[in-house]
């Protein structure tokens, strides 16, 4: 085991995959200069000359090139500087990458990872802070992966690179520098496998991305009230490990689903609906959702603090669920 920051873990996975497989290459804006905006590609240009393409500012072109290279047997790792910029390449993601395998009757493979720095980081307001996981969950043909720890980020990134289908790889900017233990050597975490981050008996908190750590912190506080909380991290939103989530909820009888994205039509809402549908008979309280209000991300720090859910929101929701 080695302690690593989240961005270091992705860099380490990228480095190892580029070493292992010559078909892996990197393409994106500012990926060579200064190691990229989040230092994820630091050292890659020196280690793998000719396999990193720093592009003009042209997201549709970048993702389109990724689609073609992938169909020709390469494994592009596409970096979009901010998730928000994927809206400039929606045709390439939604109509091309996602649908090629199906439209061609299984002839096409698009083994492409699109890295998506997302969520709030510095205060950059409405066009540089979005999450939009559910947009891509809605599109058949895409995999939506959301790691919450450095160890998961490394193992999932390796699986994403090796996958034969496109992966939307969500990297929450606010946890790039958070540290954690990462196993030594080559390992992968299968896409579609959730993880129980903490076992408990009284309530299940399904937490996405940075909400995992906040939920674990909440669980410690809730111990004082005598509540034993289970925290389940889906790690992949599509495919979604419905079995593991539902097994946990059937055990505890209570479910709180939380993400940082807007609650309205967000990833947490789909998970909540699946829990209600599958576990209705076992539920002792209504399923609760935690997320942000349905507003664009504001700029002012005074407004932002009303948007992003924190540990206290988890504690409140668990208390309400336990009281029901």
């Amino acid at each position: 085991m080695k302690t690593m920051a989240f961005n270091e873990a992705i860099r380490s996975a990228l480095h190892e995959e580029m070493e292992r497989d010559e078909s892996v290459f990197v393409i994106g804006e500012d990926v060579s200069t200064h190691g990229g905006p989040y230092k994820v590609t630091e050292g890659i240009p020196e280690a793998f000359p000719g396999r990193i393409f720093e592009t003009p500012i042209a997201e549709a072109g970048i993702v389109g090139i990724g689609v073609g290279a992938a169909m020709a047997g390469m494994r592009p790792v596409v970096e979009l500087m901010y998730l928000d910029f994927v809206t400039c390449a929606m045709d390439e993601v939604v109509n091309q990458a996602a649908k090629m395998r199906y439209m061609t009757g299984g002839q096409a493979r698009v083994p492409m990872v699109i890295r998506l720095p997302c969520g709030i980081g510095r205060l950059l307001a409405a066009q540089h802070s979005q999450i939009m996981e559910s947009w891509f969950m809605h599109v058949p043909g895409l995999q939506v992966v959301v790691p919450s720890t450095p160890a998961d980020a490394k193992g999932l990134f390796k699986s994403a690179v090796r996958s034969s289908d496109p992966v939307m790889f969500f990297e929450y900017k606010r946890i790039y520098t958070s540290k954690g233990e990462v196993p030594d050597g080559d390992y992968t975490i299968p896409i579609g496998q959730a993880d129980i981050k903490r076992e408990g008996e009284d309530a299940t908190v399904v937490a996405i991305g940075p909400m995992v750590q906040k939920s674990l912190d909440a669980a410690i506080t809730l111990e004082d009230d005598g509540y034993d909380i289970e925290v389940v991290d889906p790690r992949s939103l599509s495919p979604l490990d419905v079995d593991m989530i539902c097994t946990s909820v059937r055990k505890t009888g209570r479910a709180i689903v939380c993400g940082e994205d807007s609650t309205f039509a967000g990833a947490a809402s789909e998970i909540a609906a699946m829990i209600s549908e599958n576990c209705f008979g076992d539920l002792k309280a209504p399923v609760r959702r935690i997320g942000s209000p349905h507003v664009p991300m504001p700029f002012s720090s005074e407004l932002v603090k009303h948007v992003v859910p924190e540990k206290s929101h988890v504690i409140d929701a668990v208390n309400q669920s336990m009281a029901a």
Partner: protein
Amino acid sequence: MSLSPDVCKKMYTTMWRIRLFEEEADRQTNLGNVVGTLHMYCGEEAVAVGVCSQLRPDDYVLGTHRSHGHCLAKGADSSAMMAELFGKATGTCGGKGGSMHIADFSLNMLGANGIVGAGIGPTTGTALASKLRKSDQASVCFFGDGAAARGTFHEAIMMGSLWKLPAVYVCENNQYQQWVPRKNVAVIDSVADMAASYAIPGVSINGQDALEVYEVAGEAVARARRGEGPTLIEARTYRFYGHSLGDEQQYRTSDEVEKWKSDSDPIQILGATMQERGWLTDEEDESIQQQAAAEIKQAVEFAEQSPWPTAADLETDVTSHSVGASS
């Protein structure tokens, strides 16, 4: 590849196969066997055939919504294509794509595309793949003059030039962007002139003349293979049918259409040239047409007799997590 009577004969034959395939597909639409719609390539055959005759089987081709001709010219099987139009399980895409997504990956024909201008980026990507693998495979993208208005045209060709990729961008300027005459919405007459913005050669040619297309495409493909970068070719052409089947075509006169058909039919032009050069006798001409007709008849029989896909096929081929998927 230099021009020989054999190459000419093959091009002429393929043009007839495309023409008869589409006319039959139109007939099958009227019979209700082909549903949805078709974007007909009739009138533009010289472009696909002239370009693809310069390609190797391992070269990449990406098309448009109007790609029956590109598929056949790259070597696709007409029976599997017809079955795809019928929506049958034996179709090139198992009935999941239809006319707008017809593809044959075994020939590196990576697909028609339902979104205008969406193939230009992926073609640049296949060219980048060739460069990374140090292969001299060329990548050809066909697109219409409407696609030259899209941002994808600008973004992808710019990067194709930046990295000197082995790509050939072939604009089939048929003068109409769906229903709108190009002259009403374009600020530059020739798409080839746009090449200057990307510091690559741009050539405007008569797309009705298969031999001219063949010659210019040959130079562009050779340039790509030499690692000198992309070329933009504008082939001026004309579609004999409307944008898609059922188009009332109020935006153009029947006189205009008839004039193009009588004066600029690419099949007649090539046939006449070959006859002049003594490369095609009347008997050979008749035999070529009869063989093409027999092939298309067989394609329809194959499509008619083929099984439908079943509900069990619905959820396969979505991702490797799909039911029964391999990898």
